[in-house]
């Protein structure tokens, strides 16, 4: 198998040292700090919305997730390069101008790349850990400090009969 930066980052090879490819598209000069590059954020927000589309989530939930992804991308040079080159790839194909169907199809076409997996992996542990999202999904979060649910609806389901709780 051909060893590339991307294949190594996907875990299909190990302990290989390869040079990062030249970043395509936009020319970057000076220090790269992903989380300081607000120009990338709208496209990242769009990507996260396409990957985890919830019509009822306000854009703020997605923006907070995008911030977390960009902060995580600064953890290592490899992650920053993965992120920066992945965003450049999206720009080069005009991702921001795609309609929902085309954008989803494009995500499917890159789903096996380390860039996609990096964004998806961080999104799944961030977006669904957002307290505004919890409220929208009907999850009530911490409960011990409110006395649990013993007096707050642990058994309030009323569309089925009350079943027995002991063995016959």
């Amino acid at each position: 198998m051909r060893v590339t930066r991307r294949s190594v980052l996907m875990g299909t090879a190990s302990a290989a040292v390869v040079g990062a490819s030249v970043l395509p598209g936009q020319v970057t000069a000076g220090i790269i700090k992903v989380s300081a590059n607000s120009a990338d954020k709208p496209m990242l927000v769009r990507m996260v919305q396409v990957v985890y589309p919830h019509a009822q989530f306000p854009v703020g939930c997605y923006e907070r997730t995008a911030d977390a992804i960009m902060a995580a991308a600064d953890q290592s040079a490899a992650d920053a390069v993965t992120f920066t080159s992945g965003m450049a790839d999206l720009r080069n194909v005009g991702f921001e101008d795609m309609d929902d169907a085309a954008a989803l199809a494009h995500m499917e076409s890159i789903a096996d790349t380390p860039f996609f997996q990096m964004v998806r992996g961080k999104t799944v542990v961030t977006l669904y850990n957002d307290h505004e999202v919890w409220g929208i999904l009907g999850y009530e979060g911490a409960s011990f400090d409110q006395g649990g649910y013993i007096n707050r609806g642990f058994n309030d389901l009323d569309w089925l009969p009350d079943p027995r709780v002991d063995y016959l």
Partner: protein, 520 residues
């Protein structure tokens, strides 16, 4: 608390969970001083947090491990084969609470199931009759509901869906337990407030764990020297091949040695096997107590799988005791179903954070988002059944090393065809159950990182077939005991904690007798 000198040959217990914590209490209760070496910190109930990811970061055993084999966990969670706890109390701080006993035939898997190709089935050297008094003792210790006169827990929302579905598909053996959490005050601890955070440590203290019961009581005797943040890396032996010291890294990173008269290993099946493999020597070149080459083999994890179903009305399954719902109807052996052995169905709920990570690992896109949108209307169950022991499903030492430079455990697992057949059958039954109460959608969730880790030092009549005898005493090393689920000859269908506690109570009684008679 009495400090025990490090040069005093002591009874040393490694691990403070279901097995180690129980050993510590039972032995100190019998007047025997013990040193307990626990790798994790000593948290108080107030330290636990009602937040899935934060609690996971606080409690979980996150030291490196590696995986191999065709099981899906190796693909979805390659660095996290098991979901265990590193803290005083071990994984009893995380367990949900179901306490079914093993059934009679499950102690005789080889003779009941016959020859199953690829499986290394073996009958236990003990029977349900041998275990019955210790099951009674364990149920009383843990405060299991439904038994010994204790009341059942009430029905929560998830159980209402589960039990009504059970009734409609013709099941009869369903209830909210037995369950090791107080429905009403018992044994000095309060009744459940149904807060829904079973997996995150239980701030209320109504759930049994060795953190709230056995460890503090052992310490109260004045005979237990509990040493948290003591990560054991080696067990050494003398010229006669008897264990004589336990080497560990303390909280400051110093390498320490504790002289030992008896060593009880209870690090959970993965770390227990790893520790024996790490303790190789000229006399034991394949690892301590491993002349049989059975250490690490026959690793079992229960077949597991989950079914989530959603409805057109709210369920709110995150409220209440997570696993207080058990169906026993599928626990019997009838090969006509296409597999041997049986499985339980048990209620299960996750918050959105964990649901997103585990519902369909790696999943994304509109279908995934649509399932998450139904969160409030979801019900869920866990399928837990007997998996086949296989010689090649095993713990070995990895080329990856941990923070101490020690090789980590590699967990290799391939599903046996019997496991696959049982899981598929169980998924169909679960779908039928939820369809009967009006589910508008269901999803087959694959296994999570293993919470039930069994085998790897199995109990056997003949020394060549396993690692320990019927008391959990190593065939090769008379003063070395395995005190956790690693000793299980086969895994049965039941959640293992009750049986681990019962085995530890039994082992402690035997060990106390041997110590008092001077045999050890």
């Amino acid at each position: 608390m009495n400090a025990i000198a490090q040069d005093e040959a002591a009874v040393v217990i490694i691990g403070s969970g279901a097995g180690g914590g129980t050993m510590a209490y039972e032995l100190t209760k019998a007047g025997i001083p013990v040193v307990v070496l626990e790798a994790g910190q000593h948290f108080a109930l107030r330290d636990w947090v009602n937040d899935e990811w934060e609690a996971f970061g606080q409690m979980a055993w996150l030291d490196a491990r590696t995986t191999s084999g065709s099981w899906r966990v190796s693909r979805d969670f390659p660095g996290l084969p098991a979901w265990l706890v590193k803290a005083v109390g071990g994984t009893t701080t995380h367990w949900a609470g179901a306490t079914p006993r093993f059934l009679d035939y499950e102690f005789k898997a080889a003779s009941t199931y016959g020859d199953i190709e690829g499986a290394t089935l073996l009958d236990w050297p003990i029977s349900l009759d041998d275990m019955a008094p210790y099951y009674d003792a364990a149920e009383k210790a843990m405060g299991s509901t439904h038994v010994h006169g204790r009341p059942p827990l009430p029905a929560n929302n998830n159980y209402k869906v589960f039990a009504n579905g059970a009734e409609r598909v013709g099941y009869t053996e369903y209830a909210t337990g037995p369950y090791g959490t107080n429905a009403e005050p018992y044994d000095g601890r309060p009744g459940s407030i149904q807060d829904g955070f079973n997996f995150q440590g239980d701030k209320h203290g109504s759930k049994w764990s060795t953190l709230v019961r056995e460890i503090p009581r052992a310490v109260q005797t004045g005979l237990c020297d509990l040493r948290p943040q003591s990560h054991v890396v080696n067990i050494s032996h003398d010229a006669e091949g008897r264990a004589n010291a336990v080497i560990y890294v303390d909280g400051e990173g110093n390498l320490q040695s504790q002289a030992a008269r008896v060593v009880c290993v209870a690090g959970n099946s993965i770390e227990t096997a790893r520790l024996l493999l790490l303790s190789d020597s000229a006399m034991f070149p394949n690892g301590l107590a491993n002349s049989s080459d059975q250490v690490g083999r026959n690793y079992m994890r229960h077949l597991t799988g989950s079914m989530y179903a959603w409805f057109d009305k709210p369920v709110n399954f995150h409220r209440g005791e997570t696993m207080a719902g058990i169906i026993k109807d599928e626990v019997y052996n009838n090969p006509d179903r296409g597999f041997v052995g049986g499985y339980y169905m048990e209620t299960l709920a996750l918050g959105p954070a964990f649901m997103a990570a585990f519902l369909e690992p790696g999943g994304w896109g509109p279908d995934f988002a649509n399932m998450m949108d139904h969160y409030q209307n979801m019900a869920g169950m866990w399928i837990v059944g007997e998996d086949m022991p296989q010689s090649t499903n095993r713990i070995t030492l990895s080329e990856t090393t941990d923070q101490h430079g020690m090789p980590v455990a590699n967990v290799h697992f391939d599903d046996h065809p019997n496991d696959v057949a049982m899981r598929d059958y169980a998924y169909e039954k679960a779908e039928a159950l939820y369809a009967s109460v009006g589910a508008i959608g269901t999803h087959r969730t694959p296994p999570y990182p293993s919470t039930h880790n069994l085998g790897t030092c199995r109990m056997s009549e003949r020394p060549e077939d396993g690692v320990v005898n019927k008391w959990g005493q190593a065939h090769d090393v008379a003063n070395l005991f395995i005190s956790d689920g690693a000793v299980m000859t086969t895994g049965a269908a039941a959640n293992p904690t009750l049986t681990i506690v019962a085995l530890a109570i039994r082992q402690a009684e035997y060990l106390a007798g041997e110590l008092k008679s001077g045999t050890l």
